[in-house]
């Protein structure tokens, strides 16, 4: 089974801190994604990466950046955390085989609270 591991399940950070959320997948998937999940809004795409060192903005990239130096690891960076970034963050990966029908494999999520 594909395993997508997010480094932290819960994080509490202060406003203005730089925050790193790490995600590692073990199935050699080309595509990786970062979503945030908020009640009533579903999943909103922050950034995605087609492959190593490639990244594309999603629907809500403001205040975030990403890094993908190795194929298995995709990091989400909050340059200066703000209270409106308090949310659940989900990482996912996907094979490009049968692209449209290829399902996402998700991590357990990181609940980030910014105070």
């Amino acid at each position: 089974d594909v395993k997508v591991t997010q480094s932290s399940r819960y994080l509490v950070k202060r406003t203005g801190e730089k925050v790193f959320l790490e995600c590692v997948q073990d199935m050699d998937h080309e595509n990786m994604f970062w979503y945030r999940q908020d009640p009533g809004l579903g999943l909103r795409l922050i950034y995605f990466s087609y492959d190593v060192k490639m990244k594309e903005k999603g629907d809500i990239p403001e205040g975030y950046s990403v890094s993908r130096e190795k194929k298995e690891r995709f990091s989400l960076i909050l340059e200066s955390a703000s209270t409106n970034q308090t949310s659940m963050y989900l990482c996912a990966s996907r094979s490009t085989t049968g692209l449209l029908g290829s399902p996402l494999h998700f991590g357990n999520g990181t609940r980030l609270t910014v105070t």
Partner: protein, 111 residues
């Protein structure tokens, strides 16, 4: 922009009964896939079922089945013989080169 709409924020069902979750989507593409994902209280999202738009036959996975109405752009999920372990949030998603998710429906199965 592509949109996926789940009009039922919450649903409750008695154990062993059937519940149907609705989903509508909007796309101008002829080829796309539709998905239902389940997120139990433990939080890891998993795939429940998927449907290719070109296939007329509705997908089925054990107790989970879909009613895919392409002209109406409707993709509902039926959970038969509901079990306590089905309690979760369910997300509808579409992929026509851009993945979009609905807002989710929380399903509670009562003993």
């Amino acid at each position: 922009a592509q949109t996926v709409t789940q009009s039922q924020p919450e649903m409750s069902v008695q154990e062993a009964e059937t519940v149907t979750l609705s989903c509508t989507y909007d796309t101008s593409e002829s080829n796309y896939y539709l998905f239902w994902y389940k997120q139990p209280p433990s939080r890891q999202m998993i795939l429940v079922i998927r449907q290719e738009a070109y296939k007329q036959q509705n997908a089925t996975e054990n107790r989970f089945s879909v009613n895919f109405q392409k002209a109406a752009k409707s993709f509902s999920l039926k959970i038969s013989d509901s079990q306590l372990g089905d309690t979760a949030m369910y997300f509808c998603a579409s992929n026509d080169y851009k993945l979009s998710f609905g807002a989710g429906t929380t399903v509670t199965v009562r003993a």
